[in-house]
């Protein structure tokens, strides 16, 4: 694998992404949703932290949207 790339799991599926990038920079590749929230490695990541969080190889990303519920 190219060293400049990282392997992450996003919503349960493996994804290859460019390395050394922040979550804010990588999000457009991960979702087209307007309203969403994110957890990385089971920890919630507030929107204010997207710009500072650098994703690493093996990170597990959960990206959730509003859904019906009971």
């Amino acid at each position: 694998m190219n060293e400049a790339q990282i392997q992450v799991i996003c919503n349960g599926a493996p994804r290859t992404l460019p390395g050394a990038r922040t979550l804010a920079e990588l999000l457009p590749a991960l979702t087209d949703a307007c309203d969403f929230a994110v957890a990385v490695n089971e920890e919630f990541v507030p929107k204010s932290a997207y710009g500072a969080l650098r994703l690493a190889d093996g990170d597990r990303i959960e990206l959730v949207v509003p859904m019906e519920g009971g």
């Binding site: 949207v65 859904m67 019906e68």
Partner: protein
Amino acid sequence: MWRVADVELDSRLLIGSSLYPSPRVMQEAIRAAGAAVVTVSVRRQQAGARGGEDFWAALRALDVRLLPNTAGCHSAREAITTAEMARELFGTHWIKLEVIGDDYNLQPDPFGLVEAARELVAQGFEVFPYCTEDLVVGEKLVAAGCRVLMPWGAPIGTARGLLNPYGLRTLRERLPGIPLIVDAGLGVPSHAAQALELGCDAVLLNTAIAQATDPVAMAAAFRHAVLAGRLAFEAGRMPERDLAQPSTPVVGTPFWQQQQ
């Protein structure tokens, strides 16, 4: 009007947003129910789908307060992270806390529930815990900072009504200052009326309305049942008796002859 979590609500019927035939029927059913609070969830966006956007647009068009849930969580950790995501996504600190302990009957895990409630209350959440009708679990949740309890009537989606009215009555008597919302297991409006009659403050239901043949009509039926049940509770029911007592006056009964 009744009060829960520092908010005055004019409806004692809380309603879910799932399982309707369409977003439009959901909208109409919520209006017909007169519900002021609607439950929602967070889920992974489905690949290729504009996940749930029709539903979300339909819901935003209504003037309702949202109560996000942590449905499907099996540990306090999962529930806490889900609640944090929901708070940001829906812009509310209200959370319907679900920590499932058993997949067979979706029974809440009381230990995980108390652990998650304590942490979420510390983070400033208003925690609505989906719990069993167990008194001690209720007391522990209140001690953890919950100001409302949501005991089940029966397991989610079973439509069996109140399986343990005695337990709910005990909760009511022992925790008089805590709003009780019976959540889950109701099937027909009479179940909702019964919950209100025995002193519960409100009911939360989803499937009984959404899966009715006519969800909008059933929503209206539940609205009336909740009103009737609450009115009956406030009116004060007569005591149960073992022996019959005639309601028509006995004195002056025709054809009655004194025994010789």
